[in-house]
């Protein structure tokens, strides 16, 4: 990667590896999921950039919580669920002549809920009562995995609007990546639950209802009846919207298994994320959802596991200490255009010894990564590597470097 970055004058490599390219070209919705900290948002944005550049059409990247500088680079703001177009000029400035349009939007949970309530409320009075209910904000920010549901809901919304040819969603950083997928059915269950019915039965008749008496007593003793009344008032309002919510949640759920939808699981090849990714791929398959690819982010170059490299490290370690090589290298480095001006042979010798010695540590990491990649390749139709970038990505050029760093590893 250090070496390959010098090729900035050549046409930028916006081309995705062929398998990934075919996947994005054949689907309309892409759900990017994986455990926290693996770079989902960046990968989602990079895929969007490549698709807009190469495949044409309108591509939307819907992100949940991007790092601020990445959000700035994409030009998305946190206010409202408004999609903004990444200007062609910005793309041209990094050497891309896009065939399509790149759009970006950021999920705003609060605005999303307000929209949902406005859409499903049977009349203005109920809508306003809900929106001004003191528990409303507190509850919507937490309940039924609110973020997760809204991400799915927004996907449905933008897809059914027919505005975009491809929508790439970066799923929220859930405690469990599967929570996102369960969110719609939880919503349906919630409306059908005994609890909601119980809460919304007027308080007086509840007292005479023998069946609910034990629960009633316990709940009152534990939580206090006042609090339960507050919740009940809120849910009585909420229940008026049941029909719309349930229908919608079922549609959202249907979208996940739609043939036009693919999941892409992003992971690193460290032990715990890779383990979680394998689990995720199997669970998705279990639910009959289509997993088009696993993307292994921030991986070591595969060449580091080669026997030739290991053999060279051993030879280099042997050669270090014999100052002759160090002196030659020092001479060469002093004459090089770039680099240190005066180079001491003893310093070079020390460096070569350290380079040789530390190689085995790095190769060990690369070997472990190769093992985990093989495990994932056994359960996923394709695994694509993204080589580790020297620094974090927060602009379009960085996203481009990610696309350029994508490899289909040789088996």
């Amino acid at each position: 990667m250090v070496a390959s970055r010098s090729s900035s004058k050549a046409a930028p490599a916006t081309t995705l590896p062929s398998g990934l390219d075919a996947l994005l070209a054949s689907k309309e919705m892409v759900l990017v999921c994986g455990s926290g900290g693996v770079g989902k948002t960046t990968v989602a944005a990079a895929l969007g950039l490549a698709a807009a550049a190469e495949q044409g059409g309108r591509v939307l990247v819907l992100t949940v919580d991007p790092a601020r500088r990445l959000a700035d680079a994409l030009g998305v703001s946190k206010i409202g669920n408004v999609a903004t177009r990444v200007p062609d000029d910005a793309l041209r400035s990094i050497g891309i002549s896009p065939r399509g349009e790149l759009w970006a939007a950021m999920l705003d949970t609060k605005a999303g809920w307000d929209e949902l309530i406005s859409r499903h409320a049977p009349d203005d009075k109920i809508r306003d009562s809900v929106l001004t209910n003191p528990l409303y904000q507190n509850i919507t920010s937490r309940f039924v995995h609110s973020h997760d549901y809204l991400a799915m809901e927004q996907l449905h919304e933008v897809h059914s609007s027919g505005t975009y040819d491809l929508v790439i969603v970066d799923t929220p950083p859930s405690r469990n990546a599967l929570d996102v997928l369960d969110a719609p059915s939880r919503m349906v269950d919630f409306f059908g639950s005994r609890l909601l019915r119980w809460l919304t039965v007027p308080y007086r008749s509840r007292l005479f209802n023998l069946a609910s008496k034990p629960f009633n007593q316990i709940a009152d003793r534990v939580l206090g009846s006042r609090f339960l009344q507050d919740i009940a008032e809120f849910f009585i309002l909420f229940q008026a919207m049941e029909g719309g919510f349930v229908r919608r949640a079922r549609e959202v759920e249907g979208l996940l298994g739609d043939p036009r939808t693919t999941f892409i699981v992003v992971t690193t090849l460290e032990a715990s994320p890779a383990h979680e990714a394998g689990y995720l791929v199997r669970e998705l398959a279990e639910r009959q959802y289509f997993v088009g690819a696993v993307i292994a982010n921030r991986v070591m170059p595969a060449a580091l596991t080669s026997r030739a490299a290991a053999a060279s490290a051993t030879r280099l370690a042997a050669a270090a200490g014999d100052l002759e090589l160090a002196a030659q290298v020092a001479g060469k480095l002093s004459r090089a255009k770039r680099g240190p001006r005066t180079v001491d042979a003893a310093v070079v010798d020390h460096v070569l010894a350290r380079v040789a010695e530390s190689f085995h540590d790095v190769a060990l990491v690369a070997t472990r990564e190769a093992e985990r990649r093989a495990e994932l390749a056994a359960v996923a139709p394709q695994v694509v590597d993204i080589e580790a970038q020297p620094s974090d990505v927060h602009d379009l050029a960085g996203l481009l470097a990610i696309v350029a760093g994508m490899r289909e590893p040789a088996d």
């Binding site: 937490r142 469990n176 534990v222 060990l364």
Partner: protein
Amino acid sequence: MTNQLLDKQLIFVTGKGGVGKTSVAAALAVLAAGAGKRTLVCEMDAKGALAVALDTSSLEFTPRLVQNNLEAMAMDTEHALREYLKLFVRVPLVGRLGPLARTFDFVADAAPGVKEILGVGKLAYEVRERHYDLVVVDAEASGHIVAQVAAPRVIGELIQVGMVRDQTRWMLDILEDPDRTGVVVVTAPEEMPVVETIELLDRFAADTQIHTAAIVANRVLPALFDRKESAVVASLDSAMQLLVDAAGPGVRDVVLAAQLTEARRVVGARHLERLRAAVAPGLPILYVPELFTRATGRRVVALVAEALGEELDVA
């Protein structure tokens, strides 16, 4: 100064996903147990990572001895509710909690903090009853931790009467006492984990009265080269032919590996510098080196514990 950490009674270990939160929680617990403290380690999110770290079968709500002085458990809201009802409401519930728990699940989802308070309440209860000298919590990741530990206060303010309200008082006495309870934030020398850590420290200060006890900077790459040597590493490409002649063509990858690692270390050092500048002067940062090992599970925990032990001055 830092060895007071293990003298606390309740430690919440949090951090951005992927930074090694579970390994650090397990390592702190192993360290405490090794120092002779009766220790409980509890996983809150039931993902099973703690069991993997401890090389043991799935953990349950009932703590299980995993080594001398160390018991491990996994939080489970239904069991916590059952135990709570038995202990405090004296509701004789033998077995048939199913339907109630399911409905309760929805209340817990709907009402802010109910699920959290049951979990935190259970842990605070273990502390209050002095069943253990130290309870180490592999807590929620940084996105959810504030809601988790702030639950007793939120509930206390939201619920005006009832038993839960009364109980928030003794929980808060434990949680908000800096001598007894502390939060440990795990991070890594990368941009996002450092940014999130700084944000999390601010949120803890603004939204809770809970003391942050330490930061653990995990996976810190060792500095192999000084500044002058680092410049040599970066420029070795111009002497590549000499190196190939001496050590064979594979030497290109050997040099590349060193350059990649060094570049990562330099970037990481900058992020750590930023972290140091942002945290309050009294807040210790404990460094755990990147572990170049084939091992997983218990062995990794032992290595992390060793590194933390040195930082904490625990023999």
